[in-house]
C-alpha cells in the first residue's frame, strides 16, 4: 500500500499525463492550483457542503435518535423507516431526488405550492444546488441516527432518575445527562462526517450529469466539488500531476482537520470514566 501512496506523492511534483514519462516540475502543481479559480471554487463549494451539511446531519441524526428512543407503539417500524434510506444506493437515491427536485413537476415544489410557496429551481439555480445536495445527504441520516440510538441506550437510567430527583427539567436532563453521554459518539460521527463531506462526489456528479459530460460542475460551477475537480484534472484533462497534488492537499487537510477536532474534543467530549 505504501508504494502507490509514495508514487502518487512523486507524481504530484511532476507533469504527468498517464502516457508519457513524468517530468519533474517541483512545486509548480501546488502553486498553480492556488491561482486556479476553479480550484478555489471547488474548495468553496466543498466547504459549504461540509460546514452546513455535517452539523445539520449530526443535529438531525441526534434529534431523530431521541425521537426513536421514545417507547411508543410501532417503534421498530419507525426505526426501520428512518434507516431505510441509508441502504438505498447513492446512485438510485440521487436519481430519485433529481425527480423530486424538478422545479415544475417535482414533489418538493408541489408540496411547497400547497403551502402557498413558490419552490426554487433547485437544480438549475446556482443558489439552490448545494442546499439540494445537503437535503439528499440529510435524507440518508438513518446511519447516524442508529449510532446515536445505540449510544442513547447506553446512558444509565439511574442518572436520569437522580436528575429527576434533583428537579431537573427536560432540557436540563438532556444537557447534563444525555449530551455528555453522546459526546464520544458525536466526536466519531463528526470526524467521519467531515471526511465524507470533503470527499463528496457521487451526488454532485450525478446531479450535474444531465447537463453534459464529466467536465461539468453544474450551473455556475456551483456543484464543482473538490473531488469532482480532482477527477476532471485526472481523467478529463489528463493532468495526473495536478490531480495527485490535489489528492495530497486533501489528504493533508483531512489529517490536519481530524487532529484539530481531536484536539478540541478535550474540551467537549466526556467519557464514562471521567
Amino acid at each position: 500500500m505504501a508504494g502507490p501512496i509514495l508514487v502518487s506523492l512523486y507524481y504530484s511534483f511532476t507533469e504527468f499525463n498517464l502516457f508519457q514519462s513524468p517530468k519533474w516540475v517541483g512545486l509548480d502543481n501546488y502553486l498553480s492550483l492556488f491561482s486556479d479559480p476553479k480550484f478555489v471554487r471547488s474548495i468553496i463549494n466543498t466547504a459549504y457542503l461540509t460546514v452546513i451539511g455535517v452539523p445539520l446531519g449530526l443535529a438531525l441524526g441526534m434529534l431523530v435518535a431521541l425521537a426513536l428512543n421514545f417507547p411508543v407503539r410501532g417503534q421498530p417500524l419507525y426505526r426501520a423507516i428512518v434507516y431505510l434510506p441509508a441502504i438505498v444506493p447513492v446512485v438510485t437515491a440521487t436519481y430519485l431526488w433529481r425527480w423530486v427536485f424538478n422545479a415544475q413537476y417535482g414533489y418538493l415544489n408541489q408540496m411547497l405550492g400547497h403551502l402557498g410557496l413558490t419552490g426554487p429551481n433547485w437544480l438549475s439555480d446556482p443558489v439552490w444546488t448545494k442546499p439540494a445536495v445537503i437535503i439528499i445527504t440529510l435524507w440518508g441520516i438513518g446511519g447516524t441516527a442508529v449510532i446515536y440510538l445505540a449510544a442513547l441506550q447506553q446512558v444509565p437510567q439511574q442518572l436520569y432518575e437522580a436528575a429527576a430527583v434533583d428537579g431537573a427539567n427536560g432540557w436540563q436532563r438532556f444537557w447534563h445527562v444525555t449530551w455528555p453521554a453522546l459526546t464520544p459518539v458525536t466526536l466519531f460521527q463528526l470526524i467521519m462526517g467531515v471526511i465524507a463531506a470533503v470527499q463528496i462526489f457521487a451526488p454532485t456528479f450525478l446531479l450535474t450529469q444531465s447537463r453534459g459530460n464529466a467536465a461539468n460542475g453544474g450551473p455556475g460551477d456551483s456543484l464543482l466539488t473538490y473531488t469532482m475537480y480532482l477527477f476532471q484534472n485526472a481523467f478529463v484533462f489528463l493532468k495526473m500531476g495536478e490531480a495527485a497534488a490535489m489528492a495530497w492537499i486533501l489528504f493533508m487537510f483531512i489529517g490536519l482537520l481530524t487532529l484539530l477536532i481531536l484536539f478540541s474534543s478535550k474540551r467537549w467530549v466526556h467519557y464514562g470514566s471521567e
Binding site: 479559480p37 446556482p126 447537463r211 464529466a214 461539468n216 455556475g220 489528463l238
Partner: protein, 431 residues
C-alpha cells in the same frame, strides 16, 4: 450546449456511474488478443451500446465472414476512463476502438494512438473521399491518427404547426427573421413561459460553438484558443439579446425544468414547448420513433443579415476509430479499421444510427432517402461552410472552460465578451 457535448450525453448516458466505479472494469477486458487456429484474433472495444452496438456487431460479423486470417472480437465497454486506462500499459487490451475526432490532438500529442500515415501510404488508401471537415478533426500536426465513420452536425428544427398558428409562412433564413420568429413564437401566461420560440435541447442556453461559427467566429486560431473572436461574441449575443434578456433567466429555468427526457416522447420539441431548436441529424430517426405525428421541418441555422456567404454554416463532429499505440496486432487492426470505414460498412452503420456518413461518395446515397428531412443535414455536411473545431491537445480543458463561460452567459452573470475574455486568460496556462 455544443454538438459534441450533446453527442457525448447521447452516447455515454449513464457512463458516469460506471466511471465512478473506477477502473476495476479493466480487469474484465484485460484478456489480450492473440492467434489461434491460424487466425489472428483482434479485440475491438467500442463505446457504443444497445442498438448502436448491434449495428456494429453486424459490421463485425460481415468482416469476420470475409476473412481467412483475422477474427474480430467485439466488446462493448462504454467507459471512456477504462478505455483510457487500458491504453496506458505497454501491452494493450484492445487493438481498435472508437471515440470522437475531438480527442485526436490530446491523444496523438501524447503518443497514445498510432499515426495511420504509414498504412495509408502503403495501401494507397483514398483519403480524399472523406468529408474534409470530418477528416480535419482526425489530423494532428499534419498526420492522420483516426478515421471517421459517422458524422454529426446540427441544423434548425422547427415546428410547422406552431409556425402556422402565428402566421409565419416560412422558416427564418436571416438573423433578423429569426429574432422576429422567436418573439412571435414565445408565449407567456401569468408571467410564466408556456412556449419558447428557441431553446436549448435540454435546458437554457444554446449551441454557442455553432452560433459563433455562424457569425464567422473561430474557436481556435493558428492552433491557439481564440474565444474572444468577435464572431463568437456576436453569436452568443444574439441568443442573450433575443431570448435570455427578453424572457428572463429565472422564467426560462423554471420552464425548462419541466422538460421531459431528451430521448423520449416527452422531449420538449416533440411536445410543442419549443418552437425551434438547434439539434443533430439523429433527430429524424428519433422523431420517427418518439413523435411520428409531429409536423416539423429543418433548415440551416440562419446567417447574419447581409452575410449570405455565411449561409449553411454547420459544425461537424465525427465518430472515429483508432489503433492504440499499445495494440499487439496493429497491422491486422488496420485491415479491420479500413473495413469499418469502407462504403459498405459505413452505410450499414450510419443508416442504422441515422448518422451522417463520413464519405463524400455516400452523401447522395439512396440508403438515406427514406429518412425524413435527412437530406438537409447531408447537404449541410457537403457544404463549403461545414467545418469542425480543430482537435488541439487542449480541447477538453478549453471545452470545460467554455462550458463554464456558456453558463455564465446564459445566466447573465457575465456578458459574452467578459466570459470569453476570462476563458482567454485561463487558456494561456493550458500549455
Amino acid at each position: 450546449m455544443s454538438g459534441p457535448t450533446q453527442l457525448s450525453r447521447r452516447r455515454f448516458i449513464g457512463s458516469g456511474v460506471a466511471t465512478t466505479a473506477g477502473l476495476g472494469l479493466l480487469s474484465s477486458c484485460s484478456k489480450s488478443s492473440g492467434s489461434s487456429g491460424g487466425k489472428t484474433t483482434i479485440r475491438f472495444s467500442y463505446l457504443w451500446t444497445g442498438e448502436e452496438a448491434k449495428a456494429l456487431e453486424t459490421v463485425i460479423a460481415k468482416f469476420n465472414a470475409s476473412q481467412s486470417y483475422i477474427v474480430v472480437k467485439g466488446v462493448s465497454n462504454p467507459d471512456q476512463q477504462a478505455q483510457l486506462a487500458a491504453m496506458t500499459g505497454s501491452k494493450g487490451s484492445f487493438d481498435v476502438s472508437d471515440n470522437f475526432g475531438t480527442v485526436t490532438g490530446a491523444w496523438a500529442s501524447k503518443g497514445v494512438i498510432k499515426s495511420l500515415d504509414e498504412y495509408i501510404k502503403k495501401d494507397n488508401f483514398d483519403i480524399d473521399d472523406f468529408v474534409p471537415s470530418a477528416i480535419t478533426q482526425c489530423r494532428y500536426q499534419g498526420q492522420i491518427y483516426q478515421l471517421p465513420i459517422a458524422v454529426n452536425n446540427s441544423a434548425l428544427l422547427y415546428n410547422k404547426d406552431l409556425f402556422d398558428k402565428v402566421g409565419i409562412a416560412k422558416p427564418p433564413t436571416t438573423m433578423s427573421e429569426w429574432a422576429e420568429a422567436i418573439g412571435k413564437l414565445t408565449k407567456t401566461s401569468g408571467g410564466q413561459i408556456t412556449q419558447l420560440g428557441l431553446g436549448g435541447t435540454s435546458g437554457a442556453g444554446i449551441d454557442y460553438r455553432l452560433m459563433g461559427a455562424v457569425y464567422g467566429g473561430q474557436w481556435y486560431t493558428d492552433g491557439k484558443p481564440s474565444p474572444t473572436d468577435q464572431g463568437n461574441i456576436d453569436g452568443a449575443d444574439f441568443y442573450v439579446n433575443n431570448v435570455i434578456k427578453k424572457y428572463g433567466v429565472k422564467q426560462i429555468d423554471r420552464f425548462v425544468s419541466g422538460f421531459g427526457d431528451y430521448q423520449s416522447p416527452q422531449n420538449p420539441f416533440y411536445q410543442g414547448k419549443l418552437a425551434m431548436v438547434i439539434d443533430g441529424e439523429w433527430q429524424p430517426a428519433f422523431i420517427k420513433q418518439f413523435a411520428p405525428k409531429l409536423n416539423w421541418g429543418v433548415v440551416p441555422v440562419p446567417y447574419p443579415d447581409g452575410q449570405q456567404d455565411q449561409a449553411n454554416t454547420n459544425l461537424v463532429n465525427p465518430g472515429t476509430f483508432f489503433i492504440p499505440s499499445n495494440s499487439q496486432h496493429p497491422d491486422q487492426a488496420w485491415e479491420f479499421l479500413k473495413y469499418l470505414v469502407s462504403k459498405d460498412a459505413m452505410r450499414t452503420f450510419t443508416v442504422a444510427l441515422s448518422n451522417l456518413p463520413a464519405r463524400k461518395s455516400l452523401l447522395g446515397d439512396q440508403a438515406y432517402a427514406d429518412i425524413p428531412n435527412f437530406d438537409v443535414f447531408l447537404k449541410l455536411l457537403g457544404d463549403k461552410n461545414a467545418s469542425s473545431i480543430p482537435s488541439e491537445p487542449s480541447f477538453s480543458q478549453y471545452t470545460s472552460d467554455l462550458g463554464t463561460a456558456d453558463d455564465q452567459i446564459t445566466r447573465l452573470v457575465k456578458t459574452p465578451a467578459a466570459a470569453y475574455a476570462q476563458v482567454a486568460t485561463a487558456a494561456k496556462s493550458y500549455g
